[in-house]
C-alpha cells in the first residue's frame, strides 16, 4: 500500500521583482510504500523542500496530485498520522520544552491523560530530559533539532517526513537520530526524509529518489544500487605513467592517480586481463585487483553531472556542498 503518493506535481513561483513565474517543480512523482524508508536526495535548490511543502499542504501544487493515506495533501485526516520535522526548526521561544510538546500533542489530538507519559518517553528518547523545564530560546541548534524530532514522533505518527534530520547534530546526536529512525522502521513506520549526508542515507534507506532542477531523475532501491557495481573491477597499479593509458583507454571507465599509484576502474571483467598485461608490459606493478561496489555518492554525482533536462550541458556545482563521513 502506498502511504504517500506524489503524482506529476508542478509548481511555479513568481519571483519578487517580476510578474513572470518560474517553474520550480516539473511533474515530480514519487511514492512511499508502507513501512518503507524513502530517501530524498538532491543538490541545493533542486526542489526538495518545495516538494515536501507541497506534500504537507503548506504550498498548493499548480497541477498534479498528492495523497497521504489516500487523503489529499493538507487534509486533517491524513495529517493526523504525519509527523514533520522542518529544516533548521525554530519554535516558540518563550515556551519550555514541556509546554511546547504539550502544545504539539494537544494539536495532534492526543488525549490529556496520554500526554505526560508520552512526553516523558520522547524527551528521554532524544536525550533532553535534563532540559524539560527550560525555555526553548536557551536551546542550542542541536538541542532544537532534537526537540524538533521529539515533536515529530510525539503522537506516534505512521508517516514521518523529515527535512534534513541530521542537520546541526554532533556525531552522538546523529547516532541518536539514526537509532530512532531504525527503531521506527522496525515498528513498521514509513519514513520520508531528505538529507545531504549520504552514508546515513545508504545505511537507513530502502529506496532513494534523486531530484535535480525540479525533476526526479532517478528512484532506485539500495539493493539495485549495490548490483550496479557488479561487473566492474578496480585495478591498483604502482609506477603508473600517463603514457601507459593509450592502448587501454577504451577498457578503463575512470582512473584516479595518487603520486606513483593509479586506481583504474575497468568497465567489464572480460577486459581485466588485457589491462593487466598492458600495464606489465609498460613496466607498472599490479598491487591489487578487486571487484567494485558502486556507491550512492557515485550514482548521485553521475545523475547530477549529466546534462539536465533544463540546463543542457551545464554541470551542477552545488553538489560540492554535501559532506560524507
Amino acid at each position: 500500500m502506498h502511504v504517500l503518493k506524489v503524482d506529476g506535481v508542478k509548481k511555479r513561483f513568481r519571483s519578487d521583482m517580476s510578474l513572470a513565474r518560474r517553474e520550480v517543480l516539473h511533474g515530480v512523482s514519487l511514492h512511499a510504500r508502507e513501512g518503507e524508508v524513502l530517501g530524498f536526495l538532491g543538490p541545493n535548490g533542486a526542489g526538495k523542500t518545495t516538494t515536501i511543502k507541497v506534500i504537507l499542504g503548506l504550498i498548493r501544487a499548480d497541477s498534479g496530485r498528492v495523497t497521504i493515506f489516500d487523503h489529499p495533501a493538507g487534509d486533517p485526516r491524513g495529517m493526523a498520522r504525519v509527523g514533520f520535522l522542518p529544516e533548521t526548526p525554530y519554535f516558540h521561544p518563550h515556551l519550555s520544552l514541556d509546554e511546547f510538546l504539550a502544545f504539539c500533542g494537544a494539536l495532534s489530538g492526543m488525549s490529556r491523560s496520554d500526554l505526560p507519559r508520552r512526553i516523558a518517553k520522547v524527551v528521554d528518547t532524544v536525550d533532553l530530559t535534563a532540559h524539560r523545564g527550560k525555555r526553548l530560546k536557551t536551546f542550542s541548534k542541536g538541542m532544537l533539532q532534537r526537540a524538533g524530532l521529539a515533536q515529530a514522533i510525539l503522537h506516534d505518527p505512521d508517516l514521518l517526513i523529515l527535512d534534513e534530520p541530521f542537520s546541526g547534530l554532533d556525531p552522538v546526536g546523529r547516532k541518536m537520530v539514526r537509532d530512532v529512525l531504525v527503531d521506527l522502521k522496525k515498528r513498521g513506520k514509513t519514513i520520508f526524509f531528505s538529507s545531504h549526508i549520504l552514508p546515513d542515507m545508504e545505511a537507513l534507506c530502502d529506496r532513494i529518489c534523486i531530484i535535480r532542477e525540479g525533476t526526479i531523475v532517478k528512484c532506485i532501491g539500495l539493493d539495485e544500487l549495490m548490483r550496479l557495481g557488479e561487473g566492474k573491477v578496480e585495478v591498483t597499479a604502482r609506477g603508473w605513467r600517463a603514457r601507459m593509458l593509450p592502448g587501454i583507454e577504451e577498457y578503463v571507465e575512470s582512473k584516479r592517480e595518487t603520486g606513483v599509484d593509479a586506481f583504474l576502474v575497468v568497465r567489464e571483467r572480460r577486459f581485466v586481463r588485457r589491462v593487466i598485461e598492458h600495464l606489465y608490459a609498460e613496466g607498472a606493478e599490479i598491487l591489487e585487483v578487486a571487484g567494485e561496489r558502486s556507491s550512492l555518492e557515485d550514482l548521485f554525482m553521475r545523475e547530477i553531472s549529466r546534462p539536465g533536462p533544463r540546463t543542457g550541458d551545464k554541470k551542477n556545482e552545488d553538489t560540492l556542498v554535501f559532506t560524507g563521513f
Binding site: 504550498i59 495529517m79 522542518p86 518563550h94 502544545f103 494539536l107
Partner: protein, 255 residues
Amino acid sequence: MRTIVTVALNTFRESVREKILAVALLFGVILMGSSVFLSPLAVGAKQKIVMDVGLAAISIIGVLVAVFLGSTLVHKEVDRRAIYLVLTRPVSRTAYLVGKLAGVVAAVALVFAVMTAVLAGTVALGAGAVRPAVFASVYLSLLETMVICSVVMLFSTFTTPVLTSFFTLCIFAAGSMSGDLKVFASKFGGAGMKGVAGVFYCLLPNLRVFNIRHEAVHDLPFRATDILLATLYAAVYSAVIIFFACLIFRRREFK
C-alpha cells in the same frame, strides 16, 4: 474547539511572557498614578480627572497592546517557520486564526483586569465610589479591543507588522469618527459621495457604540440594551472580519 482553545492558551502564554505587556501595564499604572499625583492642580475636578485618565488609559493601552501583539504574533510564527509545526498537524487554518484572536483578547483582558483593579483602588483611596458604569465601560472597551484585534488579524494574514499596525491604527481613527464622516458626506457630498460614505460607514467599525466613558465618569444613566447591542455588534463584526481573514489565510502559501 479543542484546537481553538489550545492555540488560544498558547497565544495567551506567549503574549503574557512578552515584555511589551509588562511595559504597557507599567505605563498604564504610571499614567493612572500620575493623574492622582497631578490632581491637586485640577481644582475641583480631582475625581473626574482620575476617572477620565483611568478609563482612557485602559482603552488606549488595550488598543495599543492588541495592535502590537496581533501584528507581531502571527508574523513572527510565519517568519520563523514555527507555524509549520502547527499547520502540518490536523489543525484548520480557521481554528488557528480564531485561537490566535482569542489568545490576544485574553491577554488584553488580563491587562484590563489589572488596570481596572488599580483604578478602583485609586478611586477608593480618594474616598470615591466605583460605580457599575465603570465596569460596563471597561467591558465595552474590551469589546472594542476585540474588534480592533480582528482587524489586526485580517491585515496580519497578508502584510508586515509595520503596515498591519499602521492600517489598523488608521481604521481605529476612522472608526472613532465614522459617524462624523457620514454627516460630513451628507452635508457636502453629492449622491455618489453619500453612497460611498454609506458603504464606508458600514465597513468601518463603529467604535462609538463601545464608548460609555463619559457616562461612567459622570454617573449618567446607560441602557443595558445598549450594552447588549454593542456586544452583538462586536461579535458580528469580529466574526465577519475573521471570516475574511480566514479566506485570505487559507489561500496563503508558506514558501
